[in-house]
């Protein structure tokens, strides 16, 4: 296997802490927050993260496939989750300590509950508003109620972190800067 070429493209308005492990070809969009101790590995193809995402501590995002792993806008990856999905839409929440396999493609407004394992053996696309919860990873569809409030909270959260994180943490810049 060819060695992994590192190429980090970090938007000037993204906040990526110094203590973050990056490997491979990674693009991070504007207003995205990456907390310290997160890991983003583009082993196979590149990873492209959109705008306004939050990646918390000890999150692991891995792309083992050859194709580009696209993560949309306004997604929240909570502490210690592990995500290998080849594509993720917008406004999803992946909760604390959950795992999502490379066989799953996520649409928009999905929620994966705390500690859930989403590991189907065959390829699968999660529809919009799917909620996965409980120890057996049961599924339901969210009515979409409170969507505006949720989006508002996410937006304010990003704004807060944008202001506070640089005060206490060193930031990382992309290659081009």
């Amino acid at each position: 296997m060819a060695p992994i070429r590192d190429k980090f493209t970090i938007h000037s308005k993204a906040i990526v802490c110094q203590d973050v492990e990056l490997k491979g070809d990674i693009t991070i969009g504007s207003g995205t927050i990456v907390h310290p101790k997160a890991t983003i590995f583009a082993i196979g193809g590149p990873i492209v993260i959109g705008t306004g995402c939050i990646v918390e501590e000890s999150v692991i995002i891995v792309n083992r496939r050859k194709e580009v792993m696209r993560i949309g806008d306004d997604n929240l990856f909570e502490i210690g989750c592990r995500v290998e999905c080849p594509s993720i839409g917008n406004s999803n929440t992946i909760s604390t300590r959950s795992r999502v396999h490379h066989t799953v493609r996520m649409s928009s407004h999905c929620v994966v509950g705390a500690g859930c394992l989403v590991v189907p053996t065959e390829d699968e696309i999660l529809d919009d508003y799917t909620v996965i919860y409980g120890p057996d990873a049961q599924r339901r569809t969210w009515s979409g109620r409170g969507k505006v409030q949720e989006a508002d909270l996410r937006r304010k959260h990003v704004e807060y972190l944008k202001e506070m994180l640089p005060k206490f943490n060193r930031l990382r810049r992309g290659d081009g800067q």
Binding site: K37, S58, R97, A114, K156, M164
Partner: protein
């Protein structure tokens, strides 16, 4: 190995403060000026403590306060909870009492944890959880956000549910256990 045999650690790995706190050099402590340790508290390696996520506003804000004889296990994440209140987004302080042991790999976003609380390994304690005195959380438990855990109860499962009551003697038992752990936890003697 008996219950009172010492647990040795390499002296170079831990920083000991005047009040007897032992903090691993391999722990990530963000915003240390906003964290209060009560004394004789141990923070193991790989732990992440987020004192930087503070309440907005002027002046000094305490983000995380830990009591005496606490133990933060390996790879734990301690992070204050957040919410919007009256349209303003904020992180809120986290308060932890005395004699609290938190097992390895747990994620804690509680608002308040009382005294003499035991939290197992690989637990997830959701945002704004309130844990009262002498409660116990079993290993691998997931406590959803805004849960209140009453005093002297064991919680377990996903989502965490009440299992049974603990005896009245729990306070003395936990206190003895945490104190003993602290005395057992000592640096490797150099002559070995």
């Amino acid at each position: 190995m008996t219950m009172d045999s010492p647990i040795y650690y390499a002296k170079s790995e831990f920083i000991e403060t005047d009040t007897g706190n032992k903090v691993s050099r391999r722990a990530v402590i963000a915003g240390p000026q906003n964290i209060i340790l009560g004394g004789k508290t141990i923070i193991s390696h790989g732990a992440i403590i987020r004192g930087d996520l503070r309440r907005t506003g002027p002046g000094h804000a305490v983000v995380i306060s830990l009591g005496r004889y606490c133990l933060i296990g390996e790879g734990c994440v301690m992070r204050p909870p957040y919410k919007t209140y009256r349209g303003a987004f904020n992180y809120y302080p986290m308060k932890i009492g005395d004699h609290v042991h938190i097992g390895a790999g747990s994620v804690v976003e509680a608002a308040t944890i009382g005294n003499h609380v035991e939290i197992g390994k690989n637990c997830v304690i959701g945002k704004f959880t309130i844990i009262k005195d002498c409660a116990k959380i079993a290993d691998d438990t997931i406590i959803p956000s805004n849960t209140v855990i009453p005093a002297l109860s064991i919680f377990s499962g996903s989502p965490g549910r009440f299992v049974e009551d603990l005896p009245e003697s729990t306070q003395e038992m936990v206190e003895a256990h945490t104190k003993q752990y602290y005395t057992r936890f000592q640096s490797q003697p150099t002559d070995r």
